[in-house]
Symmetry: C2
Subunit: 298 residues, 2 copies
């Protein structure tokens, strides 16, 4: 396979990389040109500016993933239904320029009549599996909207979204709890994090468990400096509660930047489950894997 | 017993009533003088202004409940630990003016090392029980912070707070869901409310269930006008999920103004549990019951 220009184009930023014939990153850089900053019609120019440093041969493919394929992006790449692997993704690529520039579709799945969606994370999942040489695994991609993903035989079977990062931010900044929290989060207080995690698991309902951050503070049993870590433990614990994790389970792959994955690794460890962290290189490997499989099927 | 001046003094408003010897309301009125509008030292004057229309005899008691007894109020009335009935409340009244003006203490309870608190709701609970001639019941007091209360033999045994109203407001106004919701809530859409309620019960985790309001809208399966009712069903369903309600249970007393109780009555009915609604007159009856029992023990 020839070289690949890989682009991770999200809501708030654009990252681009040149990958060589073996999928190794030759060079990468990022720009604060997330899709929210781009007006319709301006997408080709922004992509050109992001990749001009890499003169393209006629057969060089440029593959994009992330929110660039949403209704608010360059070209809508309709969701591909799970189970989905390389073949399904290849069939659903949205070609901006035939044979040259394509957008990876997001995935959808449905559980009891309610849909769930992801866009961008599917690429990270394929990349993480490829990096670790696995074709089946349970994965979590922490974030504003965390994704728990089941992969089997190289395909994503299904997944569930948890609005954990968003709930944390809402409670942190806009709820009554904000009144007793310090302005900055500070370093993680591992003890308070574990206390919050275990309270969420025991309580089984965040609507109730969250009030403990208020009452513990009212009774001077939770120092203000530890409260953000406690709240973080509460919401991550609430997310973990629904994963049916048992001590001794196969490792969970935790995919994302260290700032996001660190607390999930800690939470899993506290539950007796081992975690394997994969960083943001998963996106590049995922785009490369999709491109390589595209070539195979072509 | 002689007449009573009853005052429900909360965060955002003050309501006062003159009750006759039998506990009937002779007159009542309200003022936008919640404790947040009152500076320290000004409380006696505001109470005077609120009750001046009712010339007091020397033996007329004035009894206050609500956030006026909090740290930010007139005089802190420390929480009374559960189980608590009239005797415990009487022993813990905070007397502003001995024999004349007193504040009812809030209640606290503790579950697995974590405290819970209420202030004002205890008075409504005693009033609701008195109005219905009960001494044992399960009650819910919907609101920003809903309270589920267990009363037995005339005492409050314990309770749990659910931040349901606050989570609704956070998701409604500050989350990604706000983007697809109309500006005003509009009338309740009972079908969408039930759909949300059942999804929350089935999902068992609001962090996950809440995302359905996003995806159903994305797939055009939830009209924008119905989305606030759906979201309301989600959060109230999440609250109901933890109450171990079973079809055919004893009625649950739903205490509060109709604007708050209507959806809870509907939710309970959908779960096969009958509900008995008690309005805001519960506060007056509660204060009168506390005063009458005070006289008995004096």
């Amino acid at each position: 396979m020839s070289e690949l220009i890989a682009v991770d184009w999200g809501t708030s930023s654009l990252r681009a990389a040149l990958l060589d014939e073996r999928g190794h990153v030759v060079e990468e850089h990022s720009m604060p040109r997330g899709i929210l900053t781009v007006v319709a019609g301006e997408f080709p120019d922004v992509l050109q500016a992001a990749t001009a440093r890499w003169p393209r041969r006629s057969d060089t493919l440029c593959l994009l993933s992330g929110m660039v394929g949403s209704r608010q992006g360059w070209l809508e790449a309709p969701y591909c239904a799970c189970p989905a692997g390389f073949a399904e993704i290849a069939a659903r690529l949205a070609w901006v320029e035939p044979g040259r520039i394509a957008i990876v579709p997001g995935l959808s799945c449905e559980e009891q009549g309610v849909p769930d969606v992801m866009r961008g994370e599917e690429t990270q999942v394929f990349g993480a599996l490829a990096l670790l040489g696995l074709d089946s695994a349970r994965l979590v991609l922490p974030g504003t909207h965390s994704k728990w993903v089941r992969a089997k035989a190289g395909r994503i079977e299904g997944f569930s979204t948890f609005m954990t990062g968003e709930f944390y931010a809402l409670l942190r900044s806009h709820s009554i709890l904000a009144r007793t929290l310090p302005d900055a989060d500070g370093d993680l207080d591992a003890g308070a994090f574990e206390q919050g995690l275990r309270h969420a698991l025991r309580t089984g309902n965040l609507l109730h468990a969250a009030f403990s951050a208020r009452t513990l503070s009212l009774f001077d049993r939770l120092p203000a400096a530890a409260a953000p870590s406690y709240l973080s433990g509460l919401v991550i614990g609430e997310e973990m509660r629904s994963q049916q994790l048992a001590s001794g389970d196969d490792p969970v792959l935790v995919v994302g930047s260290p700032a996001l994955t660190q607390r999930y690794e800690l939470a899993l460890r506290l539950l007796g489950v081992s975690a394997v962290a994969v960083g943001s290189e998963a996106t590049w490997r995922g785009l490369w894997s999709i491109a390589r499989n595209l070539e195979k099927t072509a």
